[in-house]
Amino acid sequence: MLDRFGRNLTPLIYAQTAQLVARLVWGLVAGLVAGLVAGVLLASPADAHGGTGLTGGFAAGFVHPLSGFDHLLAMVAVGLWGAFLGRPLIFLLPVIFPAVMAIGGVLGMINMPLPPVELGIALSVLVLGGMIAGAVRAPIWLAASIVAVFGIFHGYAHGKELPSAADPIGYSVGFVLATGMLHIVGIGIGAIDHWPIGRTVVRVTGGLIMLAGGWFLFQALGH
């Protein structure tokens, strides 16, 4: 086959077809592997429940961050703020948060005294929402520090509740995975920031998160 300049297009067509087939094969392999991994990760907690009578496996851990609006909004806000701040914080914040959250979890497990955790969590929602609503472009060190400090409080709450009796590892995997996925949801929402209307939506979302944080803080202060 020749184009209008008389050039042979056959090698190009072959190359593009091969590239398409390769992409399809990679997609199939990725899907297969993801299925296998999901099978391994999801099957283990179910097995672990056998006979314990407790519900502390993967599913319980996964649901935990989703069951409290304070956690949920803070996690989404971390992703959203990261997306708003762009590289490198778009991936740095979701990388820092789980690691620091785990350290907070250990502090919770050993009952290390901390300022009231409910206050810290409520403040995290308020501050992170405020950062997004105010379109605050914090420097890397400041954004990372803010997220790390709040990660300690969220991890502390999880650590206090981490069950040791029934598949605690499955529980940990569940809540870390759910936390990470909430970050991704936040990044997804933040992706619309490139459009003018999207920018408004992101800031309004931040404002709503901040308002919710104010309400959580109000409750945490005992009113």
Partner: protein, 160 residues
């Protein structure tokens, strides 16, 4: 309750992510090395007294291996093989001490994550791998601490 295929599967997942940043020519050798080491160690009779050390080694390996995704320039060939053998040893040891014979068959396929991960690592997907690796580090820290600390269990929490 701990053991089963999950610790080994998480270690293999961490290895797969680390190998995604390794030279392509070493991937096959590393996967084979990890598999052989895991099979060999899972068949070894380990004394029960080693249980805590084996789990500690497994979780430390998960954290260290997952952290390798941040190594500037990726993981070199010799380091890839070292990481693979190390992962195989600890995965096999956890299965030998707290797993069933079939658990190895459930954990080993996780190594295949290296295929999509290596593909992703070529482009902007590298970020996704680094984020997921940080989740593995978090799980490893928590799981390692669980062995050292009696947790309060199902006490009412701040949301109740």
């Amino acid at each position: 309750m701990r053991g089963g295929a999950l610790p080994a599967a998480l270690l293999f997942a961490a290895l797969a992510f680390a190998l995604a940043f390794a030279p392509r020519r070493v991937l096959f050798a590393a996967v084979i090395a990890a598999s052989l080491a895991a099979i060999a160690c899972s068949l070894m009779p380990l004394p029960e007294i080693w249980r805590e050390w084996v789990f500690a080694g497994c979780w430390a390996s998960v954290a260290i291996t997952a952290a390798m995704v941040h190594l500037p320039g990726g993981v070199g060939s010799p380091l890839s093989i070292v990481l693979a053998i190390n992962a195989g040893i600890w995965a096999g040891a956890t299965l030998a001490i707290a797993g069933l014979p079939l658990d190895l068959l459930r954990a080993l396929p996780v190594l295949l994550l290296v295929l999509p991960a290596a593909w992703l690592a070529q482009g902007r997907g590298a970020i996704a791998i680094k984020v997921i690796a940080s989740w593995l580090i978090a799980v490893a820290i928590l799981a390692a601490a669980l062995a050292l600390v009696p947790t309060p269990g199902y006490a009412p929490d701040h949301m109740q």
